[in-house]
Amino acid sequence: MAVAFDEMNIPGGDLRPAYQELARWLKETPPEALEYRRQEAELLFRRIGITFAVYGDSESTERLIPFDVIPRIMSGKEWARLEKGLKQRVRALNMFLRDIYHGRDILRAEIVPDDLIFQNPVFRPEMNGQQVPHDVYVHIAGIDIVRVDAEDFIVLEDNARTPSGVSYMLENREIMMRLFPDLFARHRVAPVERYPDELLAALRSVAPLSASSEPTVALLTPGVYNSAYYEHSFLADKLGIELVEGRDLIVKNNEVFMRTTEGLKRVDVIYRRVDDDFLDPLTFRPDSVLGVPGLMSAYAAGNITLANAVGTGIADDKAIYSYMPDIVKFYLGEEPILKNVPTWRCREPKDLAYVLDNLSELVVKEVHGSGGYGMLIGPAATKATIEAFRDKLKREPEGFIAQPTLALSTCPTCTASGLAPRHVDLRPFVLTGSKSTTIVPGGLTRVALKEGSLVVNSSQGGGTKDTWILDE
């Protein structure tokens, strides 16, 4: 693996311009002071209760995501290019979804193979021909971006279902501003605090036609035991909307109501953080107690907007991912601004043969997996693990894709032995309303805290950083 691109240091000893002030400040600040603030930050997180649950971890049901106090910095120019690329990508995702559930031009043009859609468990036949308000499917997208050099931004993954993490983007900034006012005074950091306002505006803009002029928006959560519950309550609070659970909602005459102390009140837009499968036990999983019976018929009747729409999984599926550059070109007639990671589709015999021959150098991912579960990182795996994976691959090649092990860029990070480079990625959040697509400058930077590790997922020991876009 090549030496990773470091976002602060240029080989030879120079600093990238965006980091010069930070480097000066780090030189002036004694390590103890940094350590003290780090502990203070942890205390704040715990007191505010910013925790997440790890599934299958019986020991502690609530854990903190480690927070690294060294910000990750990007220049305004870099951001401008990234922003343009993100908007382009999300526009294409929305057009793709609209097409898949209506005319299917892209299948007829043989850009994407039919079976990848129709045999995909995340394809929702219920959505065929269904009009969604304002033709927006992905209102909130989290696009995972990595860098390997100073030029390119590469999309690692599109998250078009219920992407999480935005509360960390906002809380990390709050805490950084509290702990390091001096450091902020020495930079011009673009603010992120208008995200909740923009989200609310986007959600209200996509209300169904039958809604009143003051549409009611609610956030649907699976409940306190969900790993992202903190984020759900945080966002509902910031947006000033009700945080509802399935049992708080009821469908009558194809309209959705919430049970309030004053009786039933109509809901027009649901920002749902419940997966498709659990939304409506009458349509999807009958054993779901998280959903609302009849929700899908209200949806079909056009009386409720679900954000994101049902069936968006077909756009962020890892098997579809490899077609994204073609999808962008097909709908927009433009060259994709953001690159894809070169991807071998194990369903194709030629690609499979290559993957099997090079397992020890590749990252192999389950097409339907997420959260870093069930993937093989070849260079870090033992021989036995690789052989076990080889069998799995041969048995069900269509369930996997493979990518080269990327030398993710690194940023300076606090470690037990002082500052050291650690690999990072970035998840910006792209909002699409009826009229416009907006992105708050920044996003959630995740950092692999273990030396050499490339896995940034919080469920696998990753941490987070505040992300600064300099307003030059």
Binding site: Y229, D237, T261
Partner: protein
Amino acid sequence: MLSRTAENLYWLARYVERAEYLARTIDATLRVTALPAAYIGKTNEWDSALLTAGVAASFYQAYEEANEHNVVEYLSFSMDNPSSIRNCIEAARLNSRSVRTALTSEMWDTINSAWIELQAVWSKGASTREDLAKFLRFVQETSLRFDGSAYRTMLRNDAYWFSRMGVHLERADNTARILDVKYHVLLPEEEHVGGPLDFYQWSSILRSVSALTAYHWVYRETLKPWLIADLLILNDTLPRSLASCYGNLVRNLDQIGVAYGRQGPAQRHARGIRNRLEHSNMDDIFQHGVHEFIQEFITDNSRLGEIITKQYLI
């Protein structure tokens, strides 16, 4: 607001109030049992503590004897007692988490910090009396802080009123339960009226509802059983009296009625209880039977809880 949110706020307040009451009961019992036997007679004060907490039956399923060690453990730290202080704080935190959006950050911080302290410092209970005293103080301070932050930071809307209703309903229940268990020492015809024995019983009752100093301010008298009963039942200047709790409950329910533009059975039922308290005097109550009066009140009070639940919370 969501019915579930109102329900959580209401129960959150009840749990915090109950935790404080339990802490006061233990505190008062510790004081009275520290006296030489000659001063307090042969009654088992720890048994009384269980009765006022309403958990005597479940306690005796797990323990043989109601002594300091067992009762303190059961009321404070036991996981098996659903209304132990520990479980009240756990339940309060779970409720807070479900309704974080309806709490101010000060209220959340109070409950969350208490829960963190409970786990960090008190997971093994209290090993010495000194520790226990510290624990009881921690519980009372949590409740004061919670109440104070609610008072100082919450918007005066239905969220606040439902939360206050939880406080007053629980408080009325607690005061009534003490009276229910101790009513016999308040009877005027009790044999050794004014003896040292009753004096310490009386001060213990007052202490468990933090009204010992208040008594002297109100009556400027030595402790007299019927005045104690008067203070705890009818005197609406004492925040823990039944009359005061019902004054507040009626007010909160009226505020909700006005905000929602309609009244219901909860408003009527609460007003009925308040009117009865307003038009009673201690002579009538003693004649009617203190015990019967209190038992009726406890039933009426929990009935109001059911009516509120039906009218607003489900």
